[in-house]
Symmetry: C2
Subunit: 455 residues, 2 copies
């Protein structure tokens, strides 16, 4: 009974999987915020290199992973597929629980799966510097890591309140040579105009996105990078699921249930999409996207066009959203606080190829603590959402007396999130669910925006 | 050209290697502090279970690893042997640099290699609670992790200044269910008597050891555990080197140089001792123990009998020491601040089977930063000592035009030590070497203590 299923280095996937090629119906186009017409490659040229724009719009099922990207991936990939023997025994479940451990990367999460190719494609296109935003710091540190390997400068706009409260993520970025700037900053028009009104603004992800894009456009040889939501980001993450499929095959298993937590959607999609392909081809799999009840984008949001940022400057994306001004209540899973979600994940929900579920904060931390005390590794607060669902499914299997195979994505470790565990153990955290009125209020701003065809 | 050499789970070592069986001359005995006579099993029975005492005194070359210990080891073992391709290219060296990555364990270091068997042997002997001390927190968190897996209570006395400055290590222990107490505390006679004189005492490792031993002796069903120095601890760590030997064999390599950092000596010994065995049998290997210039136990200390703790209550150990009252200047590698070293490591130095070298603090952080920016992973400050030496050896190989194979022990990651990196990047750290006078002053207290025969 293996504890870890390891894939030899030479079996690392050589291509990413693009689910666009297998969708039952075409995606609704992304719209230009000013004209309302579909966005073209030329609209994105100022902020992304051509190869990434091509991937963003590609209909091709398989896209080659360049050799230099594979070489960097090998620093930590293929990642282990682990089996949670101790937890299974603790639960007394007949279910077999497997998880794909993306926490083994240098920054400790799945984010470098896309940071590495984004840095690489920028490098070959001559980009000297990449600007980005970060909330809790997972994405910023992944991009800092990736750019350090390719010799590109990196400028990260970090939401000021996180910048002050989470110095370790900032130091991590600096250790990899990046510049980390509290946002709003005096480096951009956006930042200066906000600071002139509110000098002590705590910032927001929306503001940080606006600053990073502005910084990218106004500096010579500089481009922008995003850590989730977009098609090319999702594409890069599919190495997770493609590896997991091979590892499952090695031990003669196949999942009945596939689970991932969702914020922007890239970690869930990375594991799930290769299995969604199997499902489209006829396999019977229950694929579950898990979100917090305090930011219930998929379970309570509307499927409509909305902006990716708070200030309404990005293209309009067809997705589940709580409205671009929605600000979730305090929640320690910083990576799950996004108002929208990847259009590809939304599309699959609309097509009934996946389902969504929301979990309460206290249940996620209870799951994380139980996990740490049985399986040893301390999960990120985001990951505990997937764990809570895996435990629920394992208990259901016990009740039903079924030998179910559960597979979930371990998006990252929680070694830089220990303050959240302390808050939980000290009883300082609470559950939070949005009322019907709060949801209705949040969704109002979406009424005047265009609607996708496939609702 | 592999980046990681992985050992299949079924090739995990089934026995630990006890170097005592292969020493060119017998070890000097450990002496009772009161009688001055060799310590017997009965003297240790109050604090350790019989199976660990047997290992401590064993002359057998191979000692079986129990099945339940192997099962827990498999949570993270066998650990990867990695090759530092990017660093090699950066240095332009013909040397091939390999490192054994012990940072992949749940607590992030090599310490659980001994915490797991110590928890297991206590469990089967009926121990309900284990008390220990911790300085920076690596050992305390490893024991908290191990006891949580075996359902034993864990009480960790943490040096108060670290307790206050490093909350993350404390929270980690609490996440695994341990109780972490700032030392000196009011829970022990030792602690109370110190607090009555100095209520704001910052504590020391010596005080914490005394408190943990007292707490173990005075509580029902309670024992004590130590994280380095003793023979049984070193024994458990040899899984590192035994795995590395198999991994080297898989790729047809053999090290010319083996490097490890030394504090108490267990991480160095764990990798090096199986190779020392080869050296005793005739292999030509340069085996280097690396310590900080600010705590130069092996390079500047005396080889003599000394106490393991500051208060002089433990048995007298034959070892290199700077005197049990020696307090090194501030240094961010908390694990390398011990005044003495494992008697087995000392013995090998006396026998010229290994050599010792000291490195300056700023050189170690420069090495750590270079490593992070080429190889990605951020090393613990202790590990950067081994890295600095590996880089020195790789540069030497370049100068000599030699294809040298370098192997070092990556004792742990630095994700909970980022504050030290920040201090370095902000120019707040300094080098520190002890003067001849300081050394002489420190060694004075050793004059009246017994001398080993094999000096």
């Amino acid at each position: 009974m293996a504890s870890k299923i390891l894939l030899p280095e030479d079996r690392i996937p050589k291509q990413w999987y693009n689910i666009v090629a297998d969708l039952p119906s075409p995606m609704d186009p992304v719209l230009h915020p000013a004209t309302g017409r579909p966005v073209g490659a030329e609209d994105l040229a100022a902020i992304f290199p051509p190869s990434l724009i091509e991937q963003e719009m590609s209909q091709k099922r398989w896209i080659d992973i360049p050799e230099p990207v594979l070489e960097k991936y090998l620093l930590w990939r293929p990642t282990p597929l682990r089996r949670a023997h101790n937890l299974e025994r603790y639960l007394g479940t007949p279910a077999r629980i497997y998880y794909k451990d993306e926490g083994v990367s240098p920054p400790g999460s799945h984010k470098p799966n896309t940071a590495i190719p984004q840095a690489y494609f920028n490098k070959i296109d001559g980009t000297k510097k990449i600007c980005t935003e970060t909330g809790a710091g997972q994405w910023g540190s992944a991009l800092a890591f990736a750019t350090s390997l390719f010799g590109i400068q990196c400028e990260v706009y970090m939401v000021r309140v996180s910048y002050n409260q989470k110095p370790y993520r900032r130091i991590m970025m600096e250790t990899w040579g990046a510049t980390c700037i509290p946002s709003p900053s005096d480096r951009t028009e956006t930042g200066r105009s906000i600071l002139s009104v509110k000098p002590d603004s705590p910032g927001s992800l929306g503001i940080a996105i606006s600053e990073a894009i502005e910084a990218a456009i106004t500096q010579e040889g500089t481009r922008y990078a995003l850590g989730s939501v977009l098609n090319h980001v999702i594409l890069h993450q599919t190495v997770i699921g493609l590896e997991a499929q091979q590892q499952m095959e090695i031990i003669g298993e196949y999942p009945d249930v596939v689970i991932g937590c969702v914020g922007g959607g890239s970690n869930f999609a990375g594991l799930a999409f290769p299995f969604v392909r199997d499902k489209i081809k006829g396999k019977d799999i229950d694929i579950i996207a898990v979100e917090p009840t305090s930011c219930p984008t998929l379970t309570k949001g509307a499927y409509t066009y909305d902006f990716g940022d708070t200030s309404g400057k990005t293209p309009l994306l067809p997705m589940h959203t709580l409205g671009h001004h929605f600000v979730p209540p305090p929640l320690h899973a910083g990576g799950l606080r996004y108002h929208g979600i990847a259009p590809l994940v939304s599309k699959l929900l609309v097509e009934n190829l996946i389902r969504a579920s929301a979990v309460q904060q206290l249940d996620t931390f209870a799951a994380g603590l139980l996990w740490a005390r049985t399986e040893g590794y301390i999960p990120a607060p985001e990951t505990t959402h997937a764990i809570a669902m895996a435990i629920e499914e394992a208990k259901k299997a016990k009740d039903e007396g079924k030998e179910k195979v559960i597979l979930f994505s371990w998006s990252g470790h929680g070694l830089l999130d220990l303050a959240a565990y302390e808050a939980y153990m000290e009883g300082k955290l609470a559950n939070y669910s949005l009322s019907v009125e709060e949801i209705q209020e949040a969704l109002k701003e979406l009424e005047h925006l265009p609607k996708p065809k496939t609702t």
